[in-house]
């Protein structure tokens, strides 16, 4: 564990010194450019995406429905809060790697307060002290360092990703302190809790949204791709303190053409109300 950390910080020094000449504006510009989703292996991605949908349909979704059906909302809220709490140590590490020392103070204070007064993180007294949750992973840190996201990837079982985010995911599993807690049995329990319950918790909160997307999308694959890349871009621009809406502005560049196109106003459409 220790040697891994040392290695990591040595690597980090190289990366940071290499990026030192890159300005924040350049990184932001880079992120805006890459916001046009690059998807060179779309046919392969679509196959993996269909496979994941089958896995979801027969495994993840039914378990999520059970989870939501069996556990009362109070319990589910406690679990959601404990997952947030468990993500605070890795968030702190990423805060530091992003040179956000104030935020690192907040996330570590949150972890201490909620793990103790908040009874193992099941409650969130820290927020009432004004310490608001923020989540950082290595994918975001790499983005802040100016590393481009790369082409869109759909990973088997894991879903939407990119080379940058997949690298981040691997580093997280190596370096997250909450993955290293306890003896081997406890550690596995912890990992399973976070991974398994994390997936089911997220899925159970979005059952209707995904059902709806799947049934009513013109192109479900493209919708998910857009959601994923927009979400990751906005998280990185948030870290660079660029308002996500400002970041989105470039996407509205050709808006004016349509605004000026008043030559065709369109029919006065009658609305039919579905029963």
């Amino acid at each position: 564990m220790k040697s891994k950390l040392v290695l990591f910080f040595v690597l980090l020094t190289f990366v940071v010194s290499g990026c030192a000449s890159v300005t924040k504006d350049q990184i932001v510009a880079e992120n805006i450019v890459t916001q046009k989703v690059s998807d060179p292996i779309e046919p392969i991605n679509r196959v993996v995406f269909s496979f994941n949908n089958v896995f979801d349909k027969y495994a993840v979704r039914p378990v999520s429905i059970l989870y939501r059906g069996i556990l009362p909302e109070f319990v589910r809220n406690r679990i959601a809060y404990s997952l947030v709490n468990l993500s605070m140590p890795i968030t702190t590490i990423n805060n530091i790697l992003q040179f956000e020392f104030g935020k690192a103070g907040i996330s570590s204070a949150r972890f201490v307060i909620n793990s103790t007064i908040g009874i193992l993180g099941f409650f969130d007294p820290a927020s009432y002290f004004g310490l608001e949750a923020d989540y950082e992973d290595f994918g975001q840190t790499l983005g802040v360092w100016g590393i481009p996201t790369g082409p869109y990837l759909v990973l088997p079982f894991l879903g939407p990703s990119s080379p940058r985010d997949f690298t981040g995911l691997l580093s997280t599993s190596l370096l997250d302190p909450t993955y290293q807690v306890g003896n081997s049995a406890n550690r596995d329990l912890f990992r399973s809790y976070r991974m398994g319950v994390g997936v089911i918790n997220f899925r159970s909160e979005n059952i209707e949204i995904f059902d709806d997307l799947q049934n009513n999308s013109v192109d479900y694959y493209a919708a998910v791709r857009s959601f994923y890349s927009q979400s990751r871009n906005s998280q990185v621009s948030d870290n660079l303190e660029v308002s996500p809406s400002i970041n989105q502005d470039s996407l509205f560049n050709d808006f004016e053409e349509f605004e000026l196109d008043d030559t065709y106003i369109g029919p006065d459409v009658s609305i039919s109300y579905p029963e």
Partner: protein
């Protein structure tokens, strides 16, 4: 001792934030009025689902710039469309848009919209807000409203949830579908109609 200091400082700075003057008061009011009207309809237990749908649709259609949104999501394919295609598309998209929330209005469970701040973004005004849920009020969802004022009328152009713009997502979806269908706008119109028929 130290922690106490940090906490006091943080509380001080976060209270400063909320005291900051509203940049775009009329836009913020527009959003809070819209949210209040929407919640009034959704939370009204004396209305059945059909009535909720009618009232909610009236509210939405009078508050968004449907015409601009429809053209924008079709992007370059709008310019090459025939008049007949434009009419079919606008009709099909409007119905698709309405059916995207119909049948879901009864899922509303007391969420509230809290306005945070507002800022200019080119010709638009962005009003930032949070959706808060009872019982988990510190797990809030960021909801940003993109507004455009034309001829003294403010309209909603886009909603962005946790950084995901719905109009951009819709545009990417349509562009993807069209490029996988040789740019055939009739294929998109038929797809929209078949989804509308299901709902």
């Amino acid at each position: 001792m130290n922690l106490k200091k940090i906490i006091t400082l943080i509380i001080f700075f976060s209270s400063l934030n909320t005291l900051a003057f509203a940049n775009f008061e009329s836009e913020e009011n527009f959003v809070s009025d819209f949210a209040a009207s929407a919640i009034n309809i959704l939370g009204n237990e004396s209305l059945n689902n059909n009535d909720k749908n009618i009232q909610f649709t009236d509210l939405v259609m009078s508050s968004i710039d449907m015409n601009l949104i429809s053209k924008f999501v079709l992007s370059r394919y709008w310019k090459t469309a025939s008049d007949q295609q434009k009419i079919s598309y606008l009709n099909a998209f409007k119905e698709y848009f309405i059916s995207s929330y119909a049948n879901k209005l009864d899922q509303y469970s007391g969420e509230k919209v809290v306005i945070v701040s507002s800022e200019a973004a080119k010709k638009f005004v962005i009003v930032k807000s949070n959706i808060v849920r009872d019982g988990a009020d510190t797990l809030k969802i960021e909801l940003n409203w993109r507004l455009l004022t034309r001829d003294d009328q403010t309209k909603i152009i886009d909603l962005s949830i946790e950084g995901i713009s719905l109009i951009i997502a819709q545009r990417e979806e349509f562009q993807s579908f069209l490029s996988n269908n040789n740019g055939d706008l009739n294929a998109l119109i038929n797809r929209l109609k078949s989804i509308n028929a299901k709902n």
